[in-house]
């Protein structure tokens, strides 16, 4: 079961309230997304920790029903 872009965005925002989230449906098939997440809360965190923080908001869906989410993160 694929996820809608709006659902992904809503989950990330719920977990990281100050995040600016930009979702792109890469293939137009509702299954391959790119997400860019910018949050001041990422300041000082390694890239791995920034990505893990985003994955946490998705509650275990990453690698499961969300197979293809290209993620980039930044603090500002």
């Amino acid at each position: 079961m694929a996820m809608a872009a709006d659902d992904i965005e809503a989950m990330i925002r719920a977990g990281i309230p100050d995040a600016v989230v930009e979702i792109t449906d890469l293939a137009g098939d509702g299954d391959h997304y790119a997400a860019r997440v910018v949050s001041p809360s990422f300041a000082g965190l390694s890239r791995v920790k920034q990505h893990k923080a985003v994955y946490e908001t998705l509650g275990g869906r990453m690698g499961g029903e969300l197979h293809a989410l290209q993620l980039t993160t930044a603090a500002s």
Binding site: R47, V48, H51, K52, Y55, G60, M62, G63, G64, A68, Q70, L71, T72
Partner: protein, 109 residues
Amino acid sequence: MMTDDINARIDGIVKTNKVVLFMKGSPLFPQCGFSSRAIAILDHLNVTYESVDVLQDQAIRQGIKGYSDWPTIPQLYVDGEFLGGSDIMMEMYESGELAALFAGADTAQ
């Protein structure tokens, strides 16, 4: 106990190889676009690396996710440390950080 065994196995692989990529498929025949992208980056930087095909080993395929607390494959390890997946590799490649890292690590061919 199974978990301890697989963690010890993965730890051995990670600690005995300077650069190791856990991926789906082989460098010549990657079985997933993300693994393919990771290989392309390493090849482009002329890095010597070891690869582990998780599709050939279900225990590692599941175990590696717990080992690094990271939900997806590929996963790149350099000098025993988890560096990231293909997105982080791409970011670090584009910023030049990855080239600098491998130049410093003396892993270039």
